[in-house]
Symmetry: C2
Subunit: 210 residues, 2 copies
DNA sequence: CCTACCGATCGGTAGG
DNA sequence: CCTACCGATCGGTAGG
């Protein structure tokens, strides 16, 4: 019945992260005061500082935990042995499902990441890069003629543009589901890249000092 | 030689908008103080209030003017008589060109629009909708089987996702140009939508009060 | 773990 | 009387 102290501690941090994400998303990081976060969590403002050193540490953890959840969900859904288009479809579906209850976190990532100091941004970007690497690999599976060319990156970033933009227009329960959108994006990428010219990646300028 | 007073006034407002956009984009709206904006413009803070009623009015104008410039550029490039794919290509090219020196404005639109009061947001969104309407029409040109179906919106928003996400990865002078990206996006949309199933738009629930 | 309070800085406006 | 501005400082609130 009695929970361990460690578990309470983690639950409390998770509550703080969730309420903070909602307030940051709704009002912006600078306008969501620590007092309002404390009220939303049902604790005193001073108590917040027991769990997080400062406001910025909360922002960092909101984004870090969000991206780790995304990455884990996508990695768990990955079946590299599947036919390429089915593999991509599963990954897209897992990503869109992971976004289902993470609209606030997603907005915070997009709008407030730049408010972190560079070192913290780099930590977060390392997780982002892992996600990009995985999808670039899966996209290269459905478009093998693009593997190793300089258009694979623009295509991959176009994919992330589609998926990461969805929070601005996609609404639950409108007949067009997350699964429908996963189908659509997979098809657009698979069919849309067939006719792309496959210029080779230009060799990096070597010698000459660097 | 001597400029009219009105022209000076407009020049000054444009300077304020440009410097403010840069500072808002670099530090976020709330962290870019009126003092720093004034410094960047080479005027006193009090002088800023001669041109704009308050800080929020600057934010509104930054976004409004930005979107009007985008819309005008795209409308000026539109040749509805062209073959559909060429027409779309021209529109995408014009949009990406209009973004060339508007990275700051674009970031402000994405990150700080929500800080405006709802009425101001609506004014801005009306311009956005005009842009969306125009591209939806052009996309329906290259994918006529989607016209009037409920997938036209997701496809159109996927297009905007690709294009509006580009500021996060696209870098000038990297061999892959804006024109290359306009080609890529046009192709992905044109070829990627060919195999999309054309479900009809479900009729709106009529009668029964509403 | 809270109440009480700080040093710093904000957006906006006064008099002249 | 108006406009276009300046130096100085206001009341209020932020993070801690």
């Amino acid at each position: 019945m009695a929970r361990t102290r460690a578990s309470d501690y983690d639950d409390k941090r998770r509550t703080i992260l969730d309420r903070s994400a909602e307030l940051f998303a709704a009002h912006g990081f600078d306008r969501a005061s620590m007092s309002r976060i404390a009220d939303a969590c049902g604790v005193s403002k001073a108590n917040l500082y027991h769990y997080y050193r400062d406001k910025e540490a909360i922002l960092f953890d909101v984004i870090r935990v969000h991206l780790e959840v995304l990455l884990e969900a996508v990695e768990a859904a990955d079946l590299p042995g599947l036919p390429p288009q089915e593999r991509l479809r599963r990954l897209v579906g897992a990503l869109l499902e992971a976004y289902r209850d993470a609209d606030a976190q997603h907005k915070v990532q997009i709008n407030d990441l730049a408010l972190l100091p560079p070192a913290r941004q780099d930590e977060v970007r390392a997780i982002e890069r892992e996600l990009v690497r995985l999808f670039a690999e899966a996209i290269a599976g459905v478009a093998p003629h693009l593997r190793g060319t300089r258009v694979l990156k623009p295509v991959t970033m176009s994919f992330f543009g589609m998926v990461n933009w969805h929070y601005l227009w996609f609404r639950e329960g409108g007949g067009f589901t997350r699964s429908d959108y996963a189908d659509l994006v997979t098809r657009i990428i698979a069919d849309g890249t067939r006719g792309i010219a496959a210029e080779p990646e230009p060799a990096r300028a070597v010698a000459a000092g660097r």
